[in-house]
């Protein structure tokens, strides 16, 4: 009994000593030149929350006066916030307007993201670019600006029947289309 107590005591002391001797934040000094300015580190800024919590999903809708695209948000469960969901929300919002820019025959079927580029599968109705250059321009701005709102997307390619679409209407879409900031209306 006495021996057991002694062993236990030694174990506890040993564990405490071991734990006290180590911290995760030890950083050896390097002896290099002293920096002049320290930046404050902001901790734990959350962009999304865990599932079952509601978050705001942003997307851009063409304005009815043809002046550009405007940001809207919708509350969604965090686990449902995806690039395709954002595009579908954008389409829904646009088609609820009196003068929708996306005609009903335009379909967006999938979005795949790789190396910062989103490939959006669209149908021929979108590729043909009917409806005028302004219409096509705002359709592209709505799609591109919605998708590039995601941290991991900085360009958009259009794909139809599995192949990259080089032109949409009169517009050149061979290279990933970057965020169209000049068409964002406050």
């Amino acid at each position: 009994m006495k021996l057991r107590k002694q062993v236990l005591s030694i174990l506890c002391v040993g564990l405490l000593a071991f734990a006290a001797g180590c911290t995760p934040n030890q950083a050896p000094t390097t002896g290099k030149s002293e920096p002049v300015q320290e930046t404050k580190v902001n901790k734990d800024a959350e962009t999304t929350k865990t599932s079952q919590e509601m978050v705001k999903m942003a997307f851009f809708v063409p304005t009815e006066d043809g002046s550009g695209v405007k940001q809207s948000t919708v509350e969604m469960e965090a686990d449902k916030v995806t690039p395709k969901a954002a595009l579908l929300a954008m389409l829904k919002a646009d088609r609820a307007q009196k003068y929708p820019v996306f005609s009903k025959d335009i379909k967006i079927t999938s979005v795949t993201v790789k190396d910062g580029i989103a490939s959006v599968e669209v149908n021929d109705a979108f590729v043909k670019g009917n409806g005028g250059d302004l219409t096509v321009q705002l359709q592209m701005a709505a799609i591109v600006n919605t998708l590039t709102s995601f941290d991991n997307i900085n360009g958009v390619l259009f794909v139809s029947n599995g192949k990259k679409v080089p032109t949409v209407g009169s517009f050149d879409t061979k290279d990933p289309v970057k965020r169209m900031t000049n068409l964002i209306k406050k």
Binding site: L8, S9, L11, C12, L15, L16, C22, T23, P24, N25, A27, P28, S33, P35, V36, Q37, E38, T39, K40, V41, K43, D44, A45, T48, T50, S51, E64, D65, G66, G68, A78, D79, T82, Y99, P100, V101, G116, G131, G132, D133, L134, T135, T148, D151, N154, T167, V168, S170, F171, D172, D175, V177, K178, R179, T181, N182, L183, I184, K185, K186
Partner: protein
Amino acid sequence: MRKLFFMCLAVLMAIPLFLTQAKAANLEDARWVTRTDAPVPYVRMVMDLSAPVKASASISKDGKTTTVTLKNTKLKTAKANINMDSSIASSARLTEDGRDVKVTIKTPSSIDTSDVKVFSLKKDTVNQKPYRIVVDVQKKGVAPKPAYYGKRPSPSAHPAKNMPTGSGNYSISGGLSGKTITIDPGHGGSDSGAVGPHGVQEKNITLPISMYLKKALENRGAKVLMTRTTDVDVYGPNASGVDELGARVNVANRSNSDALISVHINAFNNPSVGGIATYYYSKTGNDARLAQKVQSQIASVPGFNGDRGIQEGNLYVLRHSNMPAVLVELGFISNPNEERVLQSPQTQEDFANRIANGIASYFGG
């Protein structure tokens, strides 16, 4: 018994300390992007981590080196040297420094703490994002820009790669006489273009305006080529976008034209939307100037809903032509009032003369 209880308690208290120490986080990936959607452009660098990491950041005395230290972290990515945006944050170097990883960011300009933001993000199991440390470096010396649409030019922040820089065989001064101009009447043949509420087709408006423009330019001594002079496709019926648009560009490129003018009529779902605009693509350094000269002449044509200004547009014919080029949108065929006015030969000729005036002004004559 009491002693045994306190001993067990001590062990239990020690366990969390034991578990939280020691294992380093792995820096698994580092990537960056230039964001131009903020009032001031910035470079965002994101580092993916296998566990939460404490970080600190500092800026050197000369302000051109920012060092972010990720505590108790191992470098597990092959990306040790990353070239970024030379106008904001030119490069980042990742190195192990004892138990930590140091991220050394070089900037072309001297920056201070207000130009840098460092923050951590939690693991997002829903969207499959790991723990992250994010570093934002703002561009120095840039006034915050408002968002706008229309009248002012908005040069692209990211000129497209592999774009033609111009053959060098076009003139930009010396008057209009002797210059070679290609006119591209939009659409044609199997492609009607936009159709107005009363059935007027865009292709049937762009052609007469273009023919008037040809005459106006030739009267001033210019040599004029047309991509089409009748109601036909330029490449062939029902051609792909690339083939048809490429065929039009070829007319201008092969003739070493000094300028290309593509004539179009706009359209939009809202019938009250109208107005006149000129598009350009920044590839030669003279595209915006040509657009400004032309738009300043055509914006006030009577019967149209205002000046929509000059705008940069990634339009195929503008991007792939070797010389300064513009695409004019002469009103909205979807607007009933403008559709009616566009059918008038007087309006068509007025547009043509004004475009010719703008081109002449561009060449300094």
